[in-house]
């Protein structure tokens, strides 16, 4: 794949005004509605939000895994400057699993049950690196070792049903990293796993990221996971980006009421034991239907601070502090930060 190399100051991936809409019998579903963000080489960007906010669709759109029709992807998705939306199917196939790879939420069902683990890892190598079956299997053993699966030589000939959920997710990671991708998209990689396994998988991803040098787009609803691994965060709500900031500022001084709500609804470990027990905050209501055009702020119906202005005029994304943008009429700018 003759992709242009990275140029100075140019992000690895830049998503510009991404719109992924689905035509349904009762109207157009605007799953992703004008989202822009970028990922620098080697960086970990988290995309967070509730179920149905469009974060998974965003991830699928980057690799163009959205079935078209009924889906339709508009905007631009540039990998080292090359717009993926203008690529042919053939070019896309050469990018998938090679330059950009993806791991999914459900390790139990994301592996093909009738093909050996080795074959599934080797397949990308044979496709993208022209390896022979033998070379691919040897490399698959190496990959299994790398992702911490013991007895890799034996495991490589096993089928997914012979592995536990955590092991299967390790295999998924092995598949994703086999071709040393520039970008790894991880869609809720730990959600379906036990807490202890979650920590192992996150540790593994962080470790491998340094070794392979891949950038990561981490899709999750779990702010604990975000705090653990991400460097920068995009908060999505109802198909739109509502806030973006580096990890520190976002957790310390969230600007958007939705982000504040998300952080407030995060349980603090041991808070009931230390005597500082606080009631877990919830965000009332549900994500609005993405089929209706919302004239004002998408979060207005659930926002405790919403005014008539919010319901009438959609707030633009504004830089509230250097590198910290939020879409809220009332979010304080730097210096005017209220507690």
């Amino acid at each position: 794949m003759a992709l242009p190399g990275p140029q100075d100051g140019q992000p690895l991936l830049s998503v510009e005004n991404l719109q992924t809409h689905f035509r349904t019998p009762d109207g157009v579903n605007r799953a992703v509605d004008g989202v822009s963000f970028h990922v620098n080489a080697g960086e970990t960007l988290a995309i967070v939000g509730e179920s149905g906010c469009g974060k998974s669709v965003t991830a699928m759109s980057i690799l163009r895994l959205i079935p078209e029709p009924p889906g339709k992807i508009a905007g631009a998705i540039r990998l080292n400057g090359k717009n993926l939306l203008e690529c042919s199917d053939r070019e896309m196939r050469q990018i998938r699993g090679n330059d950009i790879s993806m791991i999914f939420q459900e390790p139990m069902t994301s592996l093909n049950p009738v093909l050996t683990v080795g074959r599934q890892i080797g397949e990308t190598l044979r496709l993208h690196q022209g390896m022979s079956a033998k070379q691919a299997e040897d490399r698959a053993v190496e990959m299994l070792n790398l992702v911490g699966i013991p007895e890799a030589k034996r495991r490589v000939r096993e089928y997914p049903h012979q592995l536990s959920g955590g092991m299967r997710q390790r295999v998924m990671i092995a598949i994703a990293l086999a071709c040393n991708p520039k970008l790894l998209i991880a869609d809720e990689p730990t959600t379906a796993l036990d807490v202890t396994i979650q920590a192992q998988i996150l540790e593994l991803m962080r470790d491998l990221k340094h070794r392979v040098g891949a950038a990561i787009v981490l899709i999750t609803h779990d702010l604990g996971v975000v705090a653990e691994v991400a460097e920068r965060v995009v908060v999505m709500y109802a198909g739109k980006k509502v806030e973006e900031a580096a990890i520190g500022p976002l957790f310390r001084s969230p600007r958007h009421p939705y982000t504040q709500g998300l952080l407030g609804s995060m349980p603090k470990l041991g808070s009931s034991l230390t005597g500082h027990e606080t009631r877990l905050a919830e965000i009332p209501g549900l994500v609005p239907s993405l089929k209706a055009k919302i004239p004002g702020c998408v979060f207005a119906s659930r926002c405790p601070h919403a005014t008539d202005l919010c319901r009438a005029v959609a707030p633009a994304l504004e830089e509230k502090a250097p590198g910290h943008v939020a879409a809220c009429h009332y979010a304080p700018r730097e210096g005017a930060m209220a507690a």
Binding site: R93, F104, T109, P113, V114, M172, I175
Partner: protein
Amino acid sequence: MFAYVVRRVLATIPVMAVVALFVFSLLYIAPGDPAAVIAGDQATPADVERIRASLGLDRPYLVRFGAWVWDILRGDLGTSIFTNLPVSTMIAQRIEPTLSLMIVTLLLAVSVAVPMGVVAAWKQGTLVDRAVMAFAVLGFSVPVFVVGYLLAYFFALEWDLLPVQGYTPFSRGFWPWLENLILPAIALGTVYIALIARITRATMLEVLQQDYIRTAKAKGVGQRAILFLHALKNAAVPIVTVIGIGIALLIGGAVVTESVFAIPGLGRLTVDAILRRDYPVIQGVVLLFSFVYVLVNLAIDLLYTLFDPRIRY
């Protein structure tokens, strides 16, 4: 695995016993007296009685059944009432055309129907899909003999591309053998193709929704490999099952097909035997068909392990 095969083969014994009892009883109950048929129109009741006694037909039901089973266990299927030839010899003479027809039909049907179903599922809702489904419905509803006569009329009589009827043994060469089987195989295979194509399409539609197909796409796997490796292997178990069940269709259809195309096979032998109440032949052929069907099903069960590693015996 080996123990399983042995168990399954042993399990065919009671199945065959039930089939034997059923076949025997059916002919016992059925109207029509072979002795009267042999004796002819001019015979006196005494003649008929004498013939009946010589055939052992005057003995009680259980005695006759016992004697028959005992003979079978010793490898003797009995002797035809009409030709006085051993039934096993008659079957041996007729088995090649029928076996050839079934094998050619099976290969033709599978190699046409599976890709048809796969493409229909891939192109779901398009013209291709609808054409396949229309063919499936049509193939199911048009009888074998109609298809057979139409094919014979156009391909053999009108366009003179293939022989009208008959059979050439394999020993006289591959092409002469195949040439005679093409039209019968298409006629016999139409229903079978419809059946397999439908189940392939339905199973593939389900499999293509699975997460691992999405994974394969995300890996950059091409469309053909996704369809024929990742998806079809997962869809194989129901498809193979239907192919196995369909063997019964082939056995039934072979009788008609052989009549239409004048193929001297087991089907013709069966029809003739029924018309003449030649019950040792009927019993022998039905028993053979049942045995083949039971074995085919065993083979199918063993094939499952080839496609799905989660199935172990």
